[in-house]
């Protein structure tokens, strides 16, 4: 009896062992290493890293570039929340109306998510070129002055946001669509029979029914936004004057372009804490309004 249970237990451990090893080597290990590195002053090469305690965190606290990067990440997260989620939902509702050509539109809308970010970044760099980019050419047709999309601090972050929205809107659409297709037809009908308008049906039946999907989309959206890197790396290098430097770009630039590993590691610990807090907060809030299926 005892042996049988032990066998069962060890079999269980054995089954998850590959995953555990993977997580230990590639997630837990680096995580601990980064946390340790964040208390050192080091340039990756010098044989003697210097222990500095929490000085790197103090450095970040006093660094205007770091503060700017955190602000930019926050702005991008807000922008993605405000633009890409409602837009994704809008497309999902349209696609759920079972109109003709739905399959084609669904593929088209989702396709941008499949394009590697680097590739779309390069394409948008060309589209947004001040002198001969398509976007400015179109603006000129309407009698507008060309805009320096990537080189002006007023527009650069908007350009990065625009590319991110374009990139991810199809993904959120798909998440919403999956939920919409599971909303019980009978529930919608009964609401309509009771005289509920389209808006009321949407608000009181559809949204609560897909609340797990909405919750999921919000969590993923915020996490993804805080990881914005490729677009910045390809399109702006964090410039002009740090106007598009995000938290992830900052830690990359500090660590690998400037070989200043301590603050970079500290910044990634800060990023981890921010993301963990965001997820916890959302789960706590989500408990109040997410309606799980029985």
């Amino acid at each position: 009896m005892v042996i049988a249970r032990w066998r069962e237990k060890s079999l269980g451990w054995l089954m998850i062992a590959p995953y555990l090893v993977f997580v230990a080597v590639f997630v837990i290990g680096p995580l601990v290493y980064v946390a340790v590195l964040s208390t050192y002053r080091w340039n990756l090469l010098s044989p003697r890293p210097v222990r500095v305690g929490f000085q790197n965190y103090v450095y970040l606290w006093n660094s205007s570039v770091f503060r700017e990067s955190v602000t930019n990440s926050l702005l991008l997260a807000i922008g993605m929340f405000v633009f890409s989620l409602p837009l994704g939902f809008f497309f999902a509702v349209l696609l759920n109306m079972k109109l003709r050509g739905t399959v084609i539109y669904r593929s088209i809308l989702f396709s941008s998510y499949v394009v590697p970010l680097t590739a779309s970044g390069l394409v948008f760099t060309l589209l947004l070129n001040t002198h001969d980019g398509l976007v400015n050419r179109v603006l000129e047709q309407f009698g507008r002055q060309p805009i320096d999309w990537l080189g002006s601090s007023h527009y650069a972050l908007w350009s990065v946001l625009m590319v991110s929205v374009w990139q991810y809107v199809g993904y959120y659409m798909l998440i919403f669509l999956a939920g919409l297709q599971n909303v019980p037809e009978a529930l919608m009908d009964s609401c309509r029979v009771d005289g509920g308008s389209r808006w009321r049906t949407l608000w009181h039946v559809t949204l609560p029914s897909i609340s797990p999907n909405v919750f999921f989309a919000i969590v993923v959206c915020l996490i993804q936004s805080f990881q914005t890197f490729d677009q910045v790396y390809v399109m702006t290098d964090g410039g002009p004057d740090n106007a598009t430097s995000t938290l992830t770009y900052y830690l990359f630039s500090k660590g690998f372009q400037m070989a200043d590993v301590g603050p970079a590691a500290a910044a990634s610990v800060v990023l981890l804490v921010i993301l963990a807090l965001l997820s916890l907060l959302q789960m706590a809030i989500g408990r109040r309004w997410v309606v799980d299926e029985p």
Partner: protein
């Protein structure tokens, strides 16, 4: 979907995010594997030398051509040259080299950007080639052109040979100069400012600008040093480039932009855009690398006459020009056999015959005095007089601060220059602010 699944998916996303972050620093690419296996001393197989470089496109093909020629003529050695992304300060090749050195699996030799030499040399990961050079027939320090070795040394020891070297020079459109009635390129910033006003004309899309400053930290080094200032204090611990004596040329450039006599390119392709502006006659003067001369010549394609000149001086201060491009260095601690083979390759590359071929093929500077004296190179100079200017500028070469933390300085400065030229912020206060930022960074690094 139920809550449990939601939570696990979001946690999964979070973790994969962390993973993605870690990926950047992981092991170097697989090229290394090609190097192993051929080093058995008993076998007749050639010694393999791995070489990482970071100049792409046509230049990459030209490196491969040279390497092939070396391999053909040196049966005992096989050099495997691999392009690893840009070698520029903070570029991909450098990042990979940092990671490879850390992982203990570096290439045998690598191209190192001149401003990054202190970072790598101070780490002890580069072989000290001082005595090798002194014993070498072809690479004795006295064989090299004046100023060429400035960036290859750190604390009095040599860690590299000049590889693809350049200097910034002054470019001007002779046709526009003629129609504005100006007979020669400006020798001073006072003259340049007057000329820029004369050369500027037209409006809207057809406007021709007198000058275009390159919003980049490399020409900025010239701008600081030739204004009479310095970049860092002599101990390398604090920034001095925000002081009044260091911003004169920057101020002059900024004024030209404000008065409408100069235009600025911004965004990720600023450098290419400037080259294209000059080649299309949109600007009459700019400051660019001599390494761009080939590209400029082919873009202009004889549509108008153009020339280069020595960089203008500022208010009687001495002209000081930063080195540009890269050097080639050997890693320390590689097997003796590899060391010998690598050194043979490095000497071959810098010896006059190859030095001349490489230089005439790419537009990078020759590195040795004997190369310049070759009949073939003299003929080349006669046909391409723009390179003569770069050669005469060499004696004004001053190496940038030998600080292992210098990459931080230039990244900070780059953002400051964008604030000045892309956003129109005032020069003096912006540079003071950046200097404060650099002080903050240097204190935290203190390597």
């Amino acid at each position: 979907m139920n809550r449990g699944m939601m939570v696990s998916i979001s946690v999964g996303t979070l973790l994969s995010a962390l993973l993605a972050g870690c990926g950047a620093s992981s092991a170097p690419p697989s090229t290394q594997s090609q190097a192993t296996g051929n080093t058995d001393p008993g076998s007749n197989k050639p010694v393999t030398v791995t070489f990482w470089y970071g100049i792409g496109g046509q230049l990459s093909q030209q490196i491969q051509q040279m390497v092939q020629q070396f391999n053909r003529t040196h049966p005992g050695i096989h050099v495997v040259a691999t392009y690893q992304g840009s070698y520029s300060g903070g570029g991909a090749e450098q990042q990979k080299l940092l990671a490879a050195l850390k992982a203990g699996d570096p290439p045998d030799i690598a191209q190192i950007e001149v401003h990054s030499m202190p970072l790598f040399a101070s780490s002890g990961k580069l072989a000290d080639i001082t005595s090798l050079m002194n014993q070498s027939a072809s690479d004795r320090p006295t064989n090299f052109l004046q100023g060429m070795l400035a960036s290859t040394q750190f604390h009095g020891h040599s860690y590299g040979l000049p590889f693809n070297r350049s200097v910034p020079v002054f470019y001007y459109n002779k046709a526009l100069f003629a129609s504005a009635g100006i007979s020669s390129p400006p020798a001073t910033w006072g003259q340049l400012t007057q000329d820029a006003a004369k050369l500027t004309r037209g409006s809207g899309d057809n406007k021709v600008y007198g000058f275009e400053p390159l919003v980049d930290w490399w020409p900025w080094e010239y701008e600081v040093m030739s204004s009479g200032g310095t970049i860092l204090s002599s101990d390398g611990q604090s920034a001095t480039f925000g002081q009044a004596n260091a911003v004169g040329i920057l101020e002059a450039e900024s004024k030209l932009v404000q008065s409408g006599d100069a235009m600025v390119e911004s965004g990720p392709n600023y450098w290419d855009l400037m080259i294209s502006d000059f080649a299309h006659g949109k600007v009459a003067m700019d400051i660019d690398s001599i390494g761009s001369a080939g590209e400029i010549a082919s873009e202009i394609n004889h549509k108008f006459q153009w020339g280069t000149a020595i960089l203008p001086t500022y208010q009687g201060h001495k002209l000081e020009v930063p080195p540009g491009g890269g050097d080639i260095a050997m890693m320390s601690g590689i097997p003796e056999q590899q060391q010998k083979a690598a050194w043979t390759f490095m000497q071959w590359w810098t010896s006059p015959a190859q030095d001349a071929t490489w230089s005439m093929m790419t537009g990078y500077l020759p590195t040795q005095t004997a190369t310049v004296n070759l009949a073939s190179y003299q003929a080349f100079l006669k046909k391409n007089p723009q390179y003569q200017v770069a050669l005469s500028e060499l004696k004004y070469q001053v190496s940038p601060p030998a600080s292992p933390d210098y990459l931080t300085v230039v990244q900070d400065v780059q953002q400051g220059l964008q604030a000045i030229f892309d956003e129109g912020k005032p020069v003096s206060s912006t540079m003071q602010q950046v200097a404060g930022q650099v002080d903050h960074d240097l204190q935290s690094m203190g390597n």
